[in-house]
């Protein structure tokens, strides 16, 4: 019953759930990062790079960024749906945001995987 509520037919429910899921993931990561920054105080390049070099943390950071982009996609799309009524303009803005966020995702992989 409950799983049917999140099927394609009820896309608003899925939207709601994914916005919350990504919000919780981001909050957990931010607490982790806050603790690491507090403990290690990386004010120099070498310390900063060392902080971000373990594979597990780069993985977590990528997961955070992808959650963020997905969350932003859902949120910004809602905002445009509320305020931008001409269909052509709204579709254009949706497309522009989607392309931008996909580009950010590729960029993020690139940034994190060039840390050695």
């Amino acid at each position: 019953m409950v799983d049917r509520l999140f099927s394609r037919k009820y896309s608003g429910m899925r939207h709601w759930l994914l916005q919350r899921l990504t919000a919780v993931l981001m909050t957990l990561y931010l607490m982790l990062l806050g603790a690491l920054l507090f403990a290690q105080h990386p004010t120099q390049y070498t310390a900063w790079k060392a902080l971000l070099s373990p594979l597990w943390l780069r993985g977590a950071t990528l997961l955070f960024l992808l959650s963020l982009f997905f969350h932003a996609w859902l949120g910004v799309r809602d905002i445009f749906n509320d305020y931008v009524h001409p269909l052509v303009l709204r579709s254009f803005l949706h497309g522009a945001v989607a392309i931008t966020l996909i580009a950010y995702s590729v960029w993020s992989v690139n940034i994190l995987w060039s840390v050695r």
Partner: protein, 124 residues
Amino acid sequence: MKNARPKNLNLLSIRLPLPALVSILHRASGFLLFLALPFLLLALQSSLKSAIQFQHIADLLSQPAAKLMLVILGWAAIHHLLAGIRHLLMDMHWAITLPKARTSARMVLLSSAILTFLVARWLW
């Protein structure tokens, strides 16, 4: 299709209770954070590239104008996070009576103001 329902678009004549203020600021801060994303990614990229680039970003961010931007973004992030957590708690039916919603809205506004002040003091 013509719709005859009354509309009031005079924003100055609409009373804005505290929970509504938290809500619209949650939206505004979310959008601001979205607009800031390319700059944040650029800063992350440069800071990880080389010691020289790291220093370059550090110098850039210690300019007064950059610090002001950081404080504004800091406020947006803090408010969005706290209002978001409040939103999630209310989704779980925590503090959904009107008096409690007002209290938690006041707590969010006050905590983000205090935390933003601490961020500003730490930056200067």
